[in-house]
């Protein structure tokens, strides 16, 4: 067998090997990598920096893959020399390796522009996992980071660091960001977006020196000005690593020169990826390397025929919440080129197509890039757009994403990076029974490149795979582009304790009525009161602890545990209703009494006169436990549901929840208090309790699932507590238990609560106890308002009549 040695364990080299394996097993393959990691997706490094992915999650080929395919992997070895006559390689560990065929896939290195002080401590580049790790070590709240370079990589690095809490400034030499991919207008829209996220941008700043005594303390510009920095990241471009090609005596210009068959000037040496130059172009994006890999694999295995003709360059900025896509030639200067534009400054959307000879020549999308695959397809297939001229920027009605997928031809390329067609995906679904995006990635490699086709892949799966499972919930809202699970993780790990702080570091700094209450809940749940409670981020009901009504008055529902009251309490309620002229007194569906139509200013007095705790009827919190009369009077009751219900209400009351939580306890299976349609229900049987969860009788009707059957009341309450806290910690905000239980499946809920290892159960109980210990009756704020005007109607200092004209 011939010995094939690959220098470079990155995306290009390994993609080649994958393709070669498809052709034939005629090679004994050795791969050298100077990093110590198996092949990972370099494009997603910025996601690692932003904390969206871990290093493990971006691995493309794990060590098992190398082993399974009989590939010898040598990590941490840099090849320093090549002797093309003797066909030997020398490594920096002194090793000599013989080859029959050599594949150079050494990629590129960061370009360090000429300036002083780049060797100082605290100066970084951003090219590999080690760089990402080093930057993560440097990053932290309040750290000042300066990123030199306003291109794709620089901006992604900047956002990543900013998500880690750094105070980030991007310094760019040119007068517009990403000038290779965007025109001036597009660049200015992008700049506005970045600034909105909290990243400072300095354009037309020529960095001449990194300041500091041995360690970076700032950067100085040509105009004489300077800014402070705790550390500096240089992301000013890349240059091909072509040195090995030179040593091998190959023809090298900027990169190692290859022809359309990916051959170099030496028939036994090949090159691929960012280190090569094809027709005068060195590529720095993922799609070209994968196309090259396919051609090279055919050539090297003796199947020479397919040729590489160059790639339509396409780039996508991978910053959550900042959609930027660019492809082809967007210059308007070319003869015969028309530019078709649309922009809306309020929405931050800018779209431009350049059309030449009736065909798409280039595209720029900023702010909204969901149509990128359509334009890419037009570019690749050089579609004649004459007939579509009126719908270039706006597809006609009815062409929503679902239909779009259905209308695509089977031969259409969905994943441009890996050249996966719609037909290939559908075959994979039918033949391999694929139903998740992860499986699809494994099987076809689709969407493992730049990731811009992920949405289309999902649409396709949804349309074709009968049991498609969506992987993660969508972002909380536009203000803060993370799914809620991720946000909880961020809040916990980054020890963030105020809504505004979270919005400023991770979101748009503004927030809205969707994310503010959600973040308020998360902070309260995580820190149990040991946080900066910001009432401006709460819905009005949680600012004044009463339920706003359509006329601006409020309703007051005192806590009547288990629905059991007394003559004295009722008399007191009646007195209050009369004293404050309450327009309506109503028995609620929850065995409580509602006083409707109370003025805000009267709330503290009403609470004081009632002398009863808040029933939390206005909030996403513990509402009540509805009970039947149990064993005390009922001739059928077999369990004391009244006492059990009152105790359950006492244990859970005053806590905030993802949504309202209504409970029930019944003394026999006749279910008079409807416990089986409650969020948590206790159903008494002879000698045991059933604890049921996820029931509903509201917008949706759902019979609760059985969590567990236990013997004693205390055991039942303990089981309920486990579910209670588990729901608090894992549900999304405004997700009722019936959706939560359905989303996770009752088996999983059981496994992670009542059947969980003891330590897990203790953890849940301990966190519940901590929250409970720090919680208090919200109506106590009537006596000690958080703000002097919390309940007060402001009276003007002077009247209109008395005011001076």
């Amino acid at each position: 067998m011939e010995r094939l040695v690959v220098v470079g364990n990155g995306m290009a080299g390994v993609a080649c090997v994958e393709q070669i394996l498809k052709h034939s097993p005629k090679f004994e393959v050795t791969i050298f990598g100077d990093e110590t990691h198996p092949n990972y997706n370099r494009i997603l490094l910025s996601s690692v920096l932003a904390g969206e992915k871990t290093a493990d999650e971006i691995v493309l080929n794990d060590l098992d893959w190398y082993q399974k395919n009989g590939i010898q992997l040598r990590l941490g070895v840099r090849i320093t020399d090549v002797d093309s006559k003797r066909k030997t390689l020398t490594g920096d560990d002194g090793s000599k390796t013989q080859f029959d065929k050599l594949l150079i896939a050494t990629g590129s290195s960061p370009l360090i522009p000429p300036m002083e002080g780049t060797k100082k401590e605290g100066v970084y580049v951003f090219r590999n996992l080690e760089d990402a790790r080093a930057l993560l070590n440097q990053a932290g709240p309040g750290r000042k980071a300066v990123v030199i370079g306003g291109g794709l990589l620089g901006l992604e690095a900047a956002r990543g660091l900013q998500v880690q809490g750094c105070d980030v400034t991007v310094v760019h030499l040119m007068d517009t960001l990403m000038e290779r991919q965007l025109d001036w207008t597009g660049g200015s829209y992008l700049k506005a977006k970045m600034e909105c996220l909290g990243v400072r941008v300095l354009l037309e700043h020529n960095t001449v020196a990194i300041l500091g005594n041995g360690k970076a303390e700032g950067v100085a510009f040509k105009d004489g000005s300077s800014i402070e920095a705790d550390f500096v990241v240089i992301a000013a471009g890349i240059r091909p690593n072509a040195e090995l090609g030179r040593k091998a005596g190959l023809q090298v210009n900027r990169g190692i020169v290859v022809n359309d068959y990916m051959e170099t000037s030496n028939p036994d040496i090949f090159a691929v990826g960012e280190c090569v130059e094809h027709k005068g172009v060195c590529y720095g994006l993922v799609a070209p390397l994968l196309e090259q890999a396919k051609v090279l694999a055919a050539t090297i295995t003796g199947n020479k025929g397919p040729s590489y003709r160059g790639t339509v360059q396409a780039a996508k900025l991978k910053i959550m919440g900042v959609d930027v896509f660019s492809a082809g030639d967007f210059s308007e200067q070319a003869p015969g080129a028309d530019a078709v534009r649309y922009e809306d400054p309020a929405l931050g959307t800018y779209k431009k197509l350049t059309v030449r000879d009736g065909k798409l020549a280039g595209v720029i999308l900023v702010g909204e890039a969901s149509d990128s695959h359509r334009y890419m397809d037009w570019l690749r297939s050089a579609t004649d757009l004459t007939a579509m001229r009126r719908q270039l920027l706006f597809p006609g009605p009815g062409q929503d994403a679902g239909l779009d997928v259905a209308e695509m031809a089977d031969g259409r390329v969905i994943c441009g990076c890996h050249g996966v067609t719609k037909g290939a995906i559908i075959r994979a679904v039918h033949e391999k029974g694929i139903c998740t995006l992860a499986q699809l990635k494994d099987c076809t490699r689709a969407s493992t490149g730049c990731g811009s086709c992920t949405e289309v892949c999902e649409h396709l799966l949804k349309a074709v795979a009968p049991e498609f499972q969506e992987e993660s919930k969508k972002s909380l809202c536009k203000c803060i582009p993370f799914p809620e699970g991720k946000l909880r993780e961020i809040l916990r790990s980054q020890r963030l304790r105020s809504v505004q702080e979270v919005l400023e570091i991770y979101g748009n700094g503004v927030g809205c009525e969707v994310c503010k209450p959600a973040l308020s809940y998360m902070l309260d749940m995580l820190w149990c009161g040991d946080h900066d409670e910001d009432r401006s981020a709460r819905f009005i009901n949680d600012r004044v602890h009463a339920n706003i009504q359509k006329d601006g008055t409020f309703s007051v529902v005192p806590r009547i545990r288990g629905g059991v009251t007394s003559a004295k309490e009722l008399r007191c309620i009646a007195d209050v209703a009369e004293k404050y002229k309450v327009p309506m007194v109503k028995i609620t569906g929850s065995q409580r009494i509602d006083l409707l139509g109370v003025k805000k200013a009267d709330l503290p007095k009403v609470w004081a006169d009632l002398g009863m705790p808040s029933g939390q009827a206005y909030t996403k919190g513990v509402r009540m436990v509805k009970t039947c009369v149990g064993t005390d009077f009922c001739r059928f009751g077999v369990q004391d549901s009244t006492a059990a219900g009152i105790e359950m209400e006492r244990r859970f009351e005053n806590l905030y929840m993802p949504h309202k939580l209504k409970m029930g306890a019944v003394g026999c299976p006749r279910n008079c208090a409807e416990a089986t349609v409650k969020d948590i229900g206790l159903v008494g049987q002879e000698g045991s309790w059933q604890v049921v969860v996820g029931g509903a009788a509201g917008k949706k009707v759902r019979k609760a699932d059985l969590l567990v059957t236990v013997e004693t009341t205390e055991e039942a309450l303990q089981a309920a507590t486990l579910f209670f806290q588990y729901y608090r910690e894992n549900a999304n905000f405004l997700e009722r238990t019936y959706d939560f239980v359905e989303r996770l499946g009752i088996e999983k809920v059981r496994r992670e609560t009542v059947y969980a290892p003891l330590a897990v159960q203790q953890g849940l109980r301990e966190r519940y106890r901590k929250s409970k210990r720090l919680s208090r009756d919200a109506w106590l704020e009537g006596d000690e308002p958080r703000h002097p005007t919390q309940f007060v109607q402001i009276e003007p200092l002077e009247s209109l009549e008395k005011a001076q004209a």
Partner: protein, 146 residues
């Protein structure tokens, strides 16, 4: 005819917490005043949709979200942002701060009586039913009374 206007001293700056609103009744008008950190903004305390008390809404940038059905009103211009309508729907009032006191510029005289704000849509068209529905769907987490 231009209205006569007067600057009226309303309240100390501290009486309105950051990013919250408070209502005040002056010259027969109910006005909502908001503290945006660097300035105060004032509008009629009356959502153009169903008259909800805007002063009780959550502030999002320079808009306030009505607590009743989540209509978004721009505090600078008085326009409704969601559902989108370019026409100013509620009145805004100039504010300024003097020695720690918020002042509002209010119209005086007969023209000052606020016109009843009934509907947003043109009379020959029904009120935006569809949009209203979408908005209220988003509020599905809003409290019912049970």
């Amino acid at each position: 005819m231009s209205e006569n206007k007067k600057w009226v001293r309303i309240a100390t700056c501290e009486s309105i917490p950051l990013r919250e609103g408070r209502s005040v009744e002056v010259g027969g008008r109910k006005i909502a005043i908001f503290n945006l950190g660097n300035r105060f903004l004032a509008v009629d305390n009356h959502c153009p949709h169903k008259g909800g008390p805007l002063a009780e809404g959550i502030v999002s940038g320079t808009t306030v979200v009505c607590p009743l059905h989540a209509w978004k009103v721009d505090l600078d211009t008085g326009t409704v942002k969601n559902p989108t309508s370019p026409v100013p729907c509620i009145r805004t009032f100039p504010t300024r701060v003097e020695a720690g006191v918020i002042l509002l510029e209010l119209p005086v005289g007969p023209a000052a009586v606020p016109a009843p704000m009934t509907r947003l849509a043109k009379p020959d068209r029904p009120i935006h039913w569809v949009k209203t529905r979408i908005v209220s769907d988003r509020l599905s987490g809003a409290p019912g009374n049970a």
